[in-house]
Subunit: 214 residues, 2 copies
DNA sequence: GTTAGCATGTAAGGAGTTACATGATTTT
DNA sequence: AAAATCATGTAACTCCTTACATGCTAAC
């Protein structure tokens, strides 16, 4: 997860760790937060894997003070070619790894860099997942409703309404995607090769925010 | 978390692992799911800690076939005295450990066994937490809105609406709690549902006069 | 008599967190 | 010159998941 988020952000611009975390917060909003304690080791790991590099970002490169606990001064990371490949690979995944609770938000946040067909498949995957879950809970609720206390019931119902809301949201998004696809028909997408679109080829469809009639 | 959930469920009735997991699903609904791979080790750990015991639930106790990979046959667990103490301790916690994202649902699910004052403090704690988060996101959104792409924006807004919704829900719950407290200074929950609450010994709020200031 | 669901468990490991530790730079 | 904020990093640990492995019991 963090890995995808980092790659996605670095695709947009080179950043150092601290800044990366701010952007992470701004990008993922209420969905997820990462601590430095996981960010920095991840950056190291990703560098070891060859997906990112840093070229001492500050102009003040003085090479004599021997670093006591590693380097000091900003370390600005950017993607390597392999990193871009890796990002493309992650963004082309249209399976559970993209639509489960913990992962969906991050994938969605980088939909701007995701192939339109993959977008739709992820949105639909998530919707089915939620509908499935909703069915399970509804069934179990129907069977046990009378035995549940006030609070458990409240929890179930609030949960169901949340799921309903997200399903409606997804449905609207899917429809918008389909309309865009029809408006912009040419989309080859050869198998095995999909992913990083050039940054700004997202045509602005009329953002139909407003009422949702289920 | 699993620990609290298990204690809470076993307080209501003795159960074996498999059944426990079904109940977990039914009780927590959309909020959380646990796998057997975490449930069984947790049961072991809790037994080692002295909070639960099992007395070989099946009538068929034949003691000669040496168990190859541990015991077979249902293992019905129930709370010990220490387990009840531990549960009471966990249910009396009214801090972040009770109102963060991962924990709140489980604590809420056992509000029926929780002291009314603690309930209100947890609800208020969660509400402040969410309001704080909402503020952070709103501020950051105001600053960066123009630079965000369509999808990131959608994500932020959906997130904000979800938070808003939960805040409203909490506010209603808090008001209901306060009304109950005023209506019956000792024992709350007037109508609501026909909950076959076993007369659980809810810790004493007899001289409860202090209205908690946040 | 075999499939499906009930039932219990282990081993390995993923993905993060908290708490700690340090230093540089900017603001007051 | 103190305080706040920026900036980087490590060590120990928590908590849960996946995949595997086994066996019992009811239904078809």
């Amino acid at each position: 997860m963090l890995e995808l988020a980092v790659l996605g952000l670095l695709q947009e611009a080179p950043l150092h760790g601290y800044e990366l975390r701010q952007r992470l917060k701004a990008t993922l909003g209420t969905f997820r937060a990462f601590s430095y304690g996981s960010l920095y080791p991840t950056l190291r790991r990703m560098q070891a894997a060859g997906w990112i590099t840093h070229d001492d970002g500050d102009a003040t490169v003085v090479a004599d003070a021997p670093p006591l606990t590693g380097r000091r001064g900003k370390v600005v990371y950017k993607l390597t070619a392999e990193g871009k490949e890796r990002l493309a690979e992650l963004l082309s995944e249209a399976g559970p790894s993209a639509w489960e609770d913990e992962t969906f938000g991050v994938h969605f946040a980088f939909f701007g860099q995701t192939d339109p067909e993959v977008r739709v498949r992820i949105l639909e995957g998530r919707r089915s997942r939620l509908e499935e879950r909703r069915e399970g809970v509804r069934t179990s609720l129907a069977r046990t409703r009378s035995r549940l206390d006030r609070y458990t019931l409240q929890l179930q119902e609030h949960g169901l309404e949340s799921v309903d809301r997200e399903v409606r949201w997804l449905t609207e998004l899917i429809e918008t995607e389909r309309r865009s696809a029809r408006a912009r028909p040419a989309d080859p997408v050869p198998p095995g090769q999909a992913g990083t679109r050039p940054p700004s080829d997202v045509p602005p469809p009329p953002t139909a925010t407003g009422r949702g009639a289920p």
